[in-house]
């Protein structure tokens, strides 16, 4: 099976001020799942763009099936048989599945698309992926993320792709959907198609991958590592350049939650079709984690507590005071803060500087009669970002230059400035690389130790169990189990997801 399909050597790509790729080697064989690992900023995205023909390298050679090629445009890459499935899927929501699959290369007769043939071929491609149940006539906008991904893959197949690059394909999928994705990948590799698989989740790479290439600071630091056999510590130390410390901080017995007073009380909260009868409390200094599958209502609960959605029934009390339902400003004023799931679209203002993003919610503190005290604002923003070790340290840089982990720090910094007493974290480490994850965990624990009550939602069960003091397990919009975090393990939670039995 293993002839070399793609061989990249010494790829260099510089942007003004940045050497994004500084000598990358990558060798991919036919029919393998080749995993590309690296922290955010290591150069993975740039490398993908080079492969997709979207960026042209400054130096280096690319061989495809033994011949030197130049990927001068996306069309050239596609013609060779390289397809890329981006994290943000590039599908047109308003068009049908079949139209999306054949977008740009529709079978036509004198300019008219042969629609029946398109549908037939689309169905054949979807069946090849083992998902013949997706109707080619359906509008893509109505599909789930998992189905959209399949449409993207069918599109790749329709272009006779021999190499498919998948950029964090599992990030948008629920637990059970991931195993479906893996079945599709196995099917593709059996047909001789090579996959370049990018993911932050080492367990996935173990399960599906054949070999690993590790990037760090724009360079290949390790090649040809066996995916299943390389110990986690080795991978992490290659990626970060330092040895791994325990990911989760110790729970601190000094701030034992039962000695702190109750801060947040959520009583019988319900929203039609999303969740029912949700009641729980969070004490000062406590981290409460909500574990649930995608669609279990976990993010919706967080948003409703925060006032970004209006509940049908039930209420939220903060420090004994009842919050008006569906009123974010009242919640913020009372001392609540939300770090939302989608940082880019829900938390950050892209053109504004880091400092302005950090001070956004606390601007009132630096304002007299509507006038912003810019010195005080700037100083406070720098103080808190320095404390959180946010990179880059120049807070006048626009916020969009930040990596995932640093974006999250900027959002947390925002709520530190408001004197936030209850912090709601929705997927705090999504899109955050391994090294920065540990930092975020430590930060959350320290916040709790300083008396803040933290409510955490995550799709990664180990994260919920490792970081929280107390865990709520959510299934189809209802809490099916509440217990101290150290009393449940991952298998039990998974079991609850599936069975829903309140064991």
């Amino acid at each position: 099976m293993s002839t070399t399909l793609l061989q990249m050597r010494g790829i260099v790509k510089t942007f003004p001020g940045v050497r994004a790729l500084d000598g990358v080697d990558l060798e991919v064989r036919t029919g393998e799942v080749h995993c590309l690992l690296g922290q955010n900023g290591a150069g993975k995205s740039t490398l993908i763009k080079v492969l997709a023909g979207a960026q042209r390298p400054d130096e280096g050679t690319i061989e495809w099936g033994g011949n030197t090629v130049s990927l001068r445009s996306p069309a050239a890459a596609m013609k060779l048989g390289i397809a890329t499935i981006y994290q943000e899927l590039d599908l047109v929501d308003g068009l049908s599945v079949a139209e999306n699959i054949f977008l740009g290369h529709e079978p036509t007769t004198v300019g008219f698309a042969r629609r029946a043939e398109m549908r037939r071929n689309a169905r054949r491609l979807l069946e090849r992926l083992g998902h013949g149940e997706i109707d080619p006539a359906r509008e893509v906008g109505e599909l789930s993320s998992a189905s959209k991904q399949l449409v993207s893959m069918a599109r790749a197949l329709s272009l006779d792709a021999r190499l498919i690059v998948m950029d964090e394909p599992s990030a948008v999928l629920a637990h059970d959907e991931i195993s479906g994705l893996f079945r599709v990948i196995e099917e593709l590799t059996r047909q001789g198609i090579a996959i370049v698989y990018i993911s932050h989740r080492l367990d996935e790479i173990r399960e599906i991958g054949d070999r690993i290439t590790v990037l760090k600071d724009g360079r290949t630091v390790a090649e040809d590592l066996p995916a299943a056999g390389t110990p986690t510590e080795r991978v992490v130390s290659l990626m970060t350049g330092r040895s791994m410390v325990s990911a989760f901080p110790e729970r601190n017995p000094v701030s034992a939650p039962d000695r702190q007073s109750e801060l947040l009380r959520v009583a019988e909260l319900s929203r039609t079709g999303e969740f029912e009868d949700i009641s729980f409390t969070v004490r000062g200094g406590e981290i409460v984690g909500i574990a649930g599958l995608v669609g279990s209502g976990r993010s919706e609960i967080l948003q409703t507590v925060y006032g970004a959605r209006k509940p049908r029934d039930g209420g939220v009390e903060l420090d004994g005071g009842r919050l008006p339902p569906g009123n974010v400003r009242a919640a913020v004023r009372a001392g609540m803060g939300l770090a939302p799931e989608e940082r880019k679209s829900q938390a950050l203002v892209p053109y504004e500087s880091i400092a302005h993003n950090v001070s956004l919610a606390a601007l009132g503190r630096y304002t007299r009669l509507g006038w912003v005290d810019r010195t005080g604002e700037q100083a406070a923003a720098e103080e808190v970002t320095t404390a959180l070790r946010l990179q880059p340290s120049d807070t006048k840089q626009p916020v969009r230059v930040l990596s995932g982990g640093n974006q999250q720090k900027a959002v947390v910094a925002r709520w530190l400035l408001t004197d936030c007493r209850v912090l709601l974290l929705d997927e705090p480490t999504r899109g955050v690389d391994v090294g920065a994850k540990a930092e975020i965990y430590a930060l959350v624990r320290e916040l709790a130790d300083s008396g803040v009550g933290v409510l955490l939602v995550s799709s990664e069960i180990p994260e919920v169990l490792g970081l929280s003091d107390r865990v709520l397990v959510l299934r189809e919009g209802r809490i099916v189990r509440e217990s101290p975090a150290h009393e449940v393990d991952e298998a039990e939670v998974l079991d609850l997801f599936i069975e829903g039995s309140a064991a």
């Binding site: 004023r333 203002v349 504004e352 100083a379 406070a380 808190v384 930060l443 300083s450």
Partner: protein, 343 residues
């Protein structure tokens, strides 16, 4: 992360107390950085070229009277472009400004209003235009309608009202004090120019030095993020349109004084000139980014082009073509600059 560094991360209350001690790097000019700066330098370059062209092709370009004329011509659209800058940065558009000018001008010059004298007329213009802006803002922010649609409706109905009130006839200004607005000069510079300058200063402070200004950028850059940060997005949007309305009032006063009439035909297509100037000034049509200085330079560039064409006796159609070409070239240059700055 070492134990020690963890210890100095939080709590927040401690970090805040030390704000005064924190180091200050170069003074806080984040808004005026990279892309914006390049934008403004580019416009200044264009202006220098235009001035060179003006001085070579004509004899009287540099005469004081011509420069003063140029500035007072720039004043009315200039004032409009200030309100428009707020609207566009907040992510909206206001196509009704020309119509609001007409309505304010007509209402301030009816026989009944003129009975109240100068101050009554000024007050009427401000209230009428402010309320028009308020109606736009409330429909957009609280009614959830798209600003393009609402202000197209405004464009039609406000001018319709102006025609209805005036009966389609121009109304002569009989109050002497009002006409004096256009003729008064200090130090050889018309009052109109001072009014323009005052509006620029107020607008600049509002946009760059107040919480409200910051909220405008946040709402335009990412409305959902602003909402989740506890900002009153709807109030911010409403105020932005009221501001635009108030700028229309000032422009209406200036125009009415200059022409000594209130007319329902006043301000026709001014919205396009104002929008063009704002875009030329580098403000993103999608919101979240822009400068007031850029808009002002945009207005000055357009006015200078007009001025040079008039001095050279070139026809209006050629002026219009030149304007279109300038807009396209400027936006193309901006795109290149933006690409370079984002990599």
């Amino acid at each position: 992360m070492t134990e020690q560094s963890q210890a100095d991360t939080v709590p927040a209350s401690e970090s805040r107390s030390a704000t005064a001690a924190a180091p200050r790097t170069r003074s806080a000019r984040a808004r005026f950085s990279d892309g914006n700066q390049r934008q403004i330098l580019g416009l200044l370059g264009v202006l220098v070229i235009l001035i060179a062209v003006g001085s070579f092709t004509t004899d009287n370009f540099f005469e004081v009277s011509n420069l003063v004329l140029l500035l007072s011509q720039a004043s009315i659209i200039g004032v409009l472009s200030i309100g428009m800058t707020f609207v566009i940065i907040s992510g909206g558009i206001d196509l009704s400004v020309g119509a609001i000018i007409a309505l304010a001008s007509v209402w301030a010059t009816t026989g009944a209003t003129q009975e109240f004298g100068l101050w009554g007329m000024l007050f009427t213009a401000l209230v009428v235009a402010g309320v028009c802006g308020l109606i736009n803002g409330v429909l957009i922010a609280y009614g959830g309608l798209v600003s393009l649609i609402v202000t197209i409706a405004g464009l039609a109905s406000y001018r319709g009202m102006a025609t209805l009130i005036s009966g389609g006839q121009p109304q002569v200004v009989r109050v002497d004090g009002f006409g004096a607005i256009a003729t008064t000069e200090f130090l050889g510079i018309p009052l109109l120019v001072y009014m323009f300058a005052a509006t620029v200063v107020v607008g600049w402070l509002l946009l760059n030095r107040t919480t409200f200004g910051r909220h405008v950028f946040a709402v335009g850059g990412n409305a959902e993020a602003a909402r989740l940060a506890g900002i009153d997005v709807r109030r911010t949007r409403t105020i932005v349109f009221v501001l635009s309305g108030l700028c229309c009032a000032v422009a209406a006063i200036m125009l009415t004084a200059r022409t000594a009439t209130g007319a329902s035909t006043h301000g026709n297509l001014y919205e396009l000139d104002a929008i063009a100037a704002v875009i030329l000034g580098g403000t993103l049509l999608s919101g979240g980014r822009g400068t007031l200085i850029g808009s002002i330079l945009g207005v000055v560039v357009f006015t200078t082009v007009n001025n040079i064409f008039v001095l050279n006796n070139l026809s209006t159609p050629i002026q219009q073509i030149a304007k279109g070409v300038i807009i396209v070239i400027a936006v193309l240059l901006q795109r290149r600059a933006n690409k370079e700055s984002t990599g």
